[in-house]
Symmetry: C2
């Protein structure tokens, strides 16, 4: 009389455990037997709910995309195109640092599965992310911040730059602590921005830079407490 549905559908329980397992052991360490152990059933039981290992991992990639989407959409709370743009860049970084394995999975699922084509579900979600960036750029172009000639290409430059920086860091190629990396990310972002900004916005960025350099040493000024 009380429980019309089971607390969680078995398919969802499996998916949750699959995400946990992937985040713990990565792609290679992910096996149906380990997954079964984590769920608390035997391996054959899983095949009632997922056709095979690939389908399970495909569902995990879906989750990864969901989490990324949550981070990105949060940046829409910014009140101006410029702010939404900047927040989107931060959101992408936050997602990658909070969930490095998800970040990696999104871009290298096909390789790991030995597929020579990106599965359609994944390709669609990638497109959505691209469109999101495109929208942020378009807004900024319309607001006179970014150059209008190269609307499409500008999005690509931004994406590639952010992705590259983050990947190098996650691969351990940049031997710096996280906080330092965040500063490098922000700094590098501004350098690229100068190259794609309208002359008006570029000189504004220039002025900000000079103001910062005029300061003694540290970054943003904090009111001296005490």
């Amino acid at each position: 009389m009380f429980t019309v549905f089971t607390m969680t559908e078995p398919r969802d329980r499996i998916l949750n455990c699959a995400c946990e397992l992937y985040l713990k052991d990565g792609f290679e360490g992910f096996s149906m037997r380990k997954l079964a152990r984590r769920v608390g059933v035997t391996a054959p039981a899983l095949y009632r709910h997922y056709e095979n290992r690939e389908k399970v991992l495909l569902a995990v990639v879906g989750q990864a995309h969901n989490v990324l989407a949550r981070y990105l959409y949060r940046s829409l709370a910014g009140e101006t195109p410029r702010e939404r743009f900047a927040r989107a860049g931060e959101a992408y970084l936050d997602f990658a640092l909070d969930h490095p394995r998800y970040f990696q999975m999104i871009y290298s699922f096909a390789e790991f599965m030995g597929l020579d084509e990106v599965p359609e579900e994944v390709a669609e979600e990638t497109c959505a992310v691209e469109r999101f960036w495109h929208d942020r750029v378009r807004e900024c172009v319309e607001a006179g911040l970014l150059r209008s000639h190269e609307l499409e290409e500008i999005g690509l430059s931004l994406w590639a730059h952010a992705y590259g920086l983050i990947s190098l860091y996650l691969h351990g190629m940049l031997d710096v602590p996280e906080e330092t990396f965040r500063q490098m990310y922000a700094g590098s972002f501004v350098r690229l921005l100068r190259g794609i900004a309208t002359p008006a916005y570029a000189s504004e960025l220039e002025a900000e830079l000079e103001a910062e350099e005029a300061l003694p040493d540290a970054g943003p000024v904090k009111p001296a407490a005490k």
Copy 2:
């Protein structure tokens, strides 16, 4: 009387086959048994020459770095800092497109092997590449092409941008033919360049851009044959 040494040391024969095998089957498909079959011996024989699978793959990474180095050093034939800089960017791209698996291996060896630290041999070779870029940038700074304030960081921006663009392409996230991608790479490179160039060089780039846009449609002008 004629053959003082065997034609190739067994260690080298194994390494050659290991490279071939890795380039064909990738990281996951690489097993000691397959390698043995390719060499023409049985698996246990390999362990006389390499301690284990990891050591073999470490040697393959070394080869990957050698090939990359060859590509990069070729760009030193350029006669001005600006030309060497541009050629280095092309060389990095050529290497990645000619040897995508080597490119990937260089940056994700640790992940694939499940190590949580980049092995020292690999880290050293990465540093060498970084220094190479740093030298190209320094030359350009000294020639008055690039901004001097941010010498270190500029190299990082360039590296991350190139790496990101190439990785996205190799991961199948950019659905374009290779020739199109090369053009995108070149175009994106210029956008970043504008952001790190000295005002003098930046306005020179700007002039080039306007000259191109004045043309009807296509890229560089070719003399109309026949």
